[in-house]
């Protein structure tokens, strides 16, 4: 249930909101895509947690960027 809703919300975000935000992710796949995959694979709670961890890495001081897939 929560998994489906969160995936739907992420899809809406990717379809409409992301296109106009100046936000551009440092990673590939992007944070939203990463979270989506994580929720699909691990379920809502663990997936969202993994996504949050990724978000916290996504800033200029992390020193990391580029290809960072879900393990």
């Amino acid at each position: 249930m929560l998994q489906k809703i969160s995936l739907k919300l992420l899809k809406i975000y990717q379809g409409y909101i992301r296109t106009v935000l100046p936000c551009a992710c440092r990673f590939s796949p992007s944070c939203s895509e990463y979270t989506k995959q994580a929720i699909e694979r691990y379920g809502f709670l663990r997936g969202a947690f993994k996504g949050l961890g990724r978000l916290l890495r996504c800033h200029p001081f992390s020193g990391r960027s580029g290809y960072d897939p879900l393990e």
């Binding site: 100046p22 001081f61 020193g63 990391r64």
Partner: protein, 510 residues
Amino acid sequence: MDKRIILFILLSLLILLSWSAFVTKPYSIDNKEVAQQTSTAIPSPVPVATQSIPSANDEAETPNTALFDFNQKNFSVVFDEPKAAIKEIVFKSYKSYKFPLKYGLLLGDKNLIFKKQNVLPDSVTFTYDDATKKISKQFIFSNSKYDMVLSIKIKNLTTAPLNVNLPVFLGLIDFAKKQEEAQFIDLTVATAEKTLHPNAHKDALFSDLKFLGLRDRYFCAIIEPDKINNYIGFVKKLSPQVSEVGLQSQELVLAPNQEIEHKFSIYIGPQELRLINQVKPEWASVIYYGTFDFIAQVLLQLLEFLFNLAHNWGVAIIILSILIYLILLPLSLKQMRSMKQMQALQPHVEELKKNYKDNPQRLNKEIMALYSQHKVNPLSGCLPLLLQMPIFFALYQVLMRSVALKGSSFLWIKDLSEPDRLFLLPISLPVLGNEINILPIVMAIGMFVQQKISTFSAGGTSASQQKIMLIVMPVVFGFIFYRMPSGLVLYWLINSALMLVYQIRLNQTK
């Protein structure tokens, strides 16, 4: 910049965010649980049944003739004589704002009909007597401040022991009356262990009560019983739209001719930290700004400090906006430095481009690898943008509830707590109404420009989609902001103007 400073800023921001996310949330405990906890906590011989609390508001409205005004320096109290209760309070120093309590501080038995006994400059006394008991209710005001004391005396006139069980109501919550104001109505219940903001739509009891608070958008009423009397707080739902809040004492047995006195400290006034702190700092927890309360409190303090410097709320908001931009600036600066480093890498990129001319996918991968090898990236990332959100939501709460902003002007804006209303149209437009607000329009245009220069063009179908969204988003945001307080729009406008300038500079670096 020193790395440790940056780390410190980031860590403190993280603490701010996680604090409000993890610490304040559990406060909104479901009322049912609380009620259960409460009933186990109460010693068993004390009967506390919700049914035993009589409703204060079964009766028809009192005719106006029974009302009388009691004037104080800052406010006037409209008393309802037969009920010996406060119908509403009119705040003279705040544009005569009416704070309805509708039988606030009513002694809960509808059969009691009081008489006005004694009206002095700083106190009002009501009395009631019948064959068994004599009750006197005295409101003692402090004149200069917003606090008062309620003293209730009950005397047993019979020769047998007399049971008394009279709840004291703080007020009536009516969600139906003013639709747009109903969202601001909030309860505060402070018990010995914690402070709660329970849902007013559900019945609940709270033992070990310290104080009770009830507030609308700008004003609040707080009541604290004397500690020794051990009162229990209650919320009682009368209808889907109406609830009562009050205090219930344990049942008392009065010996023949015994007289008891219960005292309550009360604050009825604006939700201003300074004023509440003057009376009792503990009560300040009534001022609660939701999920991002902690950030909001910091912003409020900062805003008040800036106001004391600038003596104008508009200027204070602008400085606050610049300050917040500066706090988040290290992130932007880092990005800018990253851009410069990338320019240094440009020859390497050109070389790669030559090598992988016919394999664009491989080229991209190689460029990415080059960037991560040198730890640079053209993009700032998702977190910096996300950091703005909690600050904005917190500031929204602060500005929406800030009574100080009410009636304060700035440039052409007459009232920072309302839309700026540059001029009124003779005709009423659909949705927008007849007022022309210039700030949201400027903001929408600014947003459009910012998007235009900052979005990366995509190919294929998403390009046309992007073009539509480029127009739709500013329009949607324009509508959302159109009716918002101009103070908030001002903050957002200044912040996005600064971002826009930064973005232009960034593009030049490219």
